[in-house]
């Protein structure tokens, strides 16, 4: 039972991570590319981390909690780094209308 939960969480997480990188690869300009990694990749990695917490909690006798810490850390830091990157891009005057592939 718990194995299938872990398997689903892993596949969903890997799919979201991939979607984030596809967004980084194919969207036309910097400000649009910012959306992919900050949202999709963060949720994807969070989902894989929770899968790991479930897996080690059921496979060993101790409850595994430290994965939750990385998840929380990623969810707190992802918007901060996105904000600073956008600010830096605005500072060096990257245009948002033309496509720079």
């Amino acid at each position: 039972m718990f194995e299938s939960i872990v398997a689903i969480l892993i596949v969903v997480g890997a799919t979201f991570t991939l979607i984030g990188s596809i967004g980084l690869y194919k969207l036309p300009n910097f400000y649009m590319r910012l959306h992919g990694p900050t949202k999709a990749s963060t949720l994807g990695v969070g989902s894989i981390l929770i899968a790991s917490a479930v897996y080690f909690s059921f496979n060993t006798d101790a409850v595994s909690t430290h994965e939750i810490l990385i998840t929380a850390f990623l969810f707190i830091t992802a918007p901060v780094s996105a904000h600073l990157m956008a600010k830096a891009a605005l500072h060096i005057k990257i245009k948002d209308n033309d496509s720079t592939n």
């Binding site: 892993i10 596949v11 890997a14 991939l18 990188s21 994965e67 990385i70 600010k87 830096a88 060096i92």
Partner: protein
């Protein structure tokens, strides 16, 4: 179930690595490269945790934690450098 799910996830994350690396090489601007590096950090956390589940070892957690911390700090440092031309004020 897990024997099927883990290889699929490995393949997806490997493709994610390749796509981010292409963006890192192609640019065209410096923030694009910083963003690609940040994505590579996040992807490598996913890869390490997956490897930990695959090998059944909790040891990889520590390195994932370190990459999460260092990745955030270096992204901030790069952005600060672009903003101010200096990291330490």
């Amino acid at each position: 179930m897990l024997e099927i799910a883990i290889p699929i996830a490995f393949i997806f994350i490997a493709i994610a690595f390749i796509l981010s690396s292409i963006r890192l090489i192609k640019g065209p601007s410096v923030p694009d490269r910083i963003l690609a590096l940040d994505t590579l950090y996040i992807n490598s956390i996913a890869l390490l945790i997956l490897l930990g589940i695959h090998l059944g070892s909790a040891l990889y957690f520590e390195s994932a934690l370190l990459i999460a911390l260092m990745g955030f700090v270096s992204t901030i440092a790069f952005s600060k450098y672009l903003l101010r031309g200096d990291i330490v004020e």
